[in-house]
Symmetry: C2
Subunit: 132 residues, 2 copies
DNA sequence: GTCTTAATTTAGACTATGTCAAGATAGAAT
DNA sequence: ATTCTATCTTGACATAGTCTAAATTAAGAC
């Protein structure tokens, strides 16, 4: 993983200890954490970290395009460091979210919405583990 | 639209005035309302309707399979009376959600997750109106 | 180093969505 | 009429997220 400090520098954010900790937490996982989960994780090392700082940092990173906010599960937005286009699989029992490679599905270009600018297309697959 | 009373009867729920009003509101629209929006709508006619009754009724209808809960926008689940499989387009500015016919996309069967039971597959398209 | 200013962080208040339990109410059955 | 069950309401609670004002921290000028 790229250095947290250089990620922050790259988008013109001062690399404070709080931000470094948030970036470390969210960029080193593929678990699609919510802001509250990031807060809980980072507070283990940095107990005074405030909720507002986590939300500010994550939202700034989304604005800068280094992180993608995804609406995939009930109750909270999750954050995805994978900004290449891809699909998602959601385990409806555990809530776990997995990336699905882009070329798993052939999504044709959308020509039927000429006065809209399409910002995102993805296939969302939901399912649960079979019990044998 | 099918009669609200018969919708309720069909899934073994007593057709009380509150439930009839909720069913009327959510089945006669294609606007994908949230529970809070349903509450607000129905309260115009039935001001004593409680929040819990709306949530109970909507969740019961989802359990019975007459309504589908969709996680498509930040902050709240929306309810969709269209239970045939289809895709969705989300206007990221207005928050409006539109149904997209199933055969707009060719989604191949998913063979790569043999120990999962797939409960839902849909393409989610997001975009915003072009300003000319 | 000190001062000034700008950026950042913090705590806490606040709002919105959603759940839950306890009591009140209404219907149906006897 | 009485009982049993289903439903509804109120209000408390939980969680996600935003906002603000004050405190901290860092940066730049001198």
């Amino acid at each position: 993983m790229e250095n947290a400090i250089s990620i922050l520098r790259r988008c013109g954010m001062q690399p404070t200890p709080q931000r470094i900790a948030v970036v470390d937490s969210v960029f080193k996982t593929t678990a699609h954490p919510s802001a509250e989960e990031v807060l809980k994780n980072v507070r283990k090392d940095c107990p005074t970290l405030s909720r507002a700082t986590v939300y500010n940092t994550l939202n700034l990173l989304v604005e800068k395009g280094l992180l993608k906010a995804q609406v995939l599960k009930e109750g909270s937005v999750v954050f995805d460091p994978n900004i290449q286009r891809h699909h998602h699989f959601v385990d409806e029992d555990s809530g776990q979210i997995y990336d699905v490679p882009w070329d798993t599905f052939k999504v044709p270009p959308i020509d039927s919405l000429p006065d809209y600018e399409i910002t995102e297309v993805q296939v969302v697959v939901r399912g649960r583990k079979k019990r044998k």
